[in-house]
Symmetry: C2
Subunit: 137 residues, 2 copies
Amino acid sequence: MTDFALHPRLAADTFAVAELSLSRVLLMNDNRFPWLVLVPRLPEAREIIDLAPANRLLLAEEIDLAAAALRELYPLDKLNIGAIGNIVEQLHVHIVARQKIDPAWPGVVWGFGTAIPYATADAQTRVARLQAVLSRQ
Amino acid sequence: MTDFALHPRLAADTFAVAELSLSRVLLMNDNRFPWLVLVPRLPEAREIIDLAPANRLLLAEEIDLAAAALRELYPLDKLNIGAIGNIVEQLHVHIVARQKIDPAWPGVVWGFGTAIPYATADAQTRVARLQAVLSRQ
């Protein structure tokens, strides 16, 4: 896996949170929605169905871990999970905590308006809490 | 599983294609995009992380089956997979074949414009082809 490099667009839009067995966990720098992104550390990966079966299974488990962490830390009415990749080709999966009072509800977050960055201290706190929850699991 | 009933909104918007081990496969009645929806036949299911582990695994496998069927039958540049459920609470997963020339590219299909129904014969042909591919797997 030495050839893995995070896509520059993902690097620019997120904070690094943790490394799971397969995936890097990122926090989207957008305080409108608690929003994680999982990026399997597999060079050239683009579609889930092209992963080896063992990696597909790991990815499904890590999506569940990330979703459970969001639900533990944030109030939410619905989890939204998406593997899209129309703009950034590198395989990545979005896990978003949605509330009926959030600005995009009931629409999806993808393509919705403009991200509002976190204040630095807020981002650091959120990353630390996510790390604590993810490291327990 | 006797209490399972397809949500009326999903029933109205789709054609039934097949029954997999866990999920009903539906074809969205929208000729802008080849678009399948999987609905696990589990009453009250809403979030993937609340399914029993065996069902989570089955659902992940069935998502892969549906994605592979779309890729076999339709030209596509990217698969889009989403578990959203902000409007229809019944657990369902979207699998969409996207092309760079489709009307929503590179945005997502959810919330994009208005569905264009298939002509009846076209829908029947598509359902039959999907059934043939899914029954082989």
